[in-house]
């Protein structure tokens, strides 16, 4: 299994496992692809975690505000109707667990990796970009008529294995 397939399989299994264990939700069939970083505008919630080590990059989870509220409601057994600090925290922790478990799988192949603290962005008409590679492994998880997107981009780190993880994703508002 090459690294791309390993990441794809790991993202899928990790997400299914986190949803099943922490949210009590069994997600259905997924759609996976490898995509170039697109300039499309985002609306909703995007959570990033930086990965660093012999390989470096970013993992992200993104979804609509309604789906973010649903994540929070299922995870915390509470009623979330609007995106607030609690919802953003729940999405951040979801990202931490999903990408954290992907990191654990990858470490068996590429050696020790570090993770940053998650950063969550909520807004409308914003664009995200990773400063590194532009190729993303993307897995779409349909849930209740919407889609949760888990994306990972990773590349060998030319700066060596001792780089500390930091926020490698960027978000900025687009002109309206």
């Amino acid at each position: 299994m090459n690294l791309q397939h390993l990441i794809l399989d790991s993202v899928t299994q990790s997400t299914l496992n986190v949803f099943s264990t922490m949210l009590g939700v069994e997600l259905g069939p997924v759609e996976a692809s490898v995509e170039q970083s697109t300039p499309d505008a985002n609306d909703g919630v995007v959570s990033f975690i930086g990965v660093a080590g012999a390989w470096a990059g970013t993992g992200s989870v993104s979804c609509s505000p309604a789906l973010a509220c649903r994540v929070c409601s299922q995870m915390l057994m509470t009623e979330a109707t609007a995106v607030n600090e609690e919802v953003l925290d729940a999405v951040a922790e979801l990202t931490n667990m999903i990408i954290g478990n992907v990191k654990n799988d990858l470490e068996k192949e590429v050696g020790p990796l570090g993770l940053s603290i998650p950063t969550v962005v909520f807004g409308r008409n914003f664009q995200t970009k990773s400063a590194g590679t532009t190729e993303w492994i993307v897995v779409r998880f349909p849930w209740e008529g919407e889609t949760l997107l888990v994306k990972v981009c990773l590349a060998p780190n030319e700066k060596g294995a001792h780089t500390h993880p930091h926020m490698v994703g960027h978000a900025y508002a687009l002109d309206t």
């Binding site: 931490n96 954290g100 654990n104 020790p112």
Partner: protein
Amino acid sequence: MESDILVVDDSAAIRKILQRVLRQTGMAIQKIHEAGDGQEALTLLGTQQVDLVLSDINMPKMDGLQLLAAVKASAQLRHIPVIMITTEGGETKVGEALRLGAAGYVRKPFTADQIKEKVARFIEPAEQL
């Protein structure tokens, strides 16, 4: 005897989940304290009687390994068992935690049964009171 537990995690979501899970374990728990990082946890341990600590590893300011090292280096605190709850699965950080004296670890994502199993080693069941 009812026990006090300290939950340390920078995620308020995880602290809330652990509060709920711990309350549902049927253990003799008097109070569940919360801290958002190791530094806050150490401050709290200086003023509160705590019988068990559940701590994340990756946290800002002072991480779980630094907190564990500080607890085990303190004559007043080293008797308190510390269980790590973390996404870390590699030998490096979990192994270091165990070498530093962690009483065990639970991987995130976790089930209520996994938490109960670990906590039951240190906290009495409520029905025995």
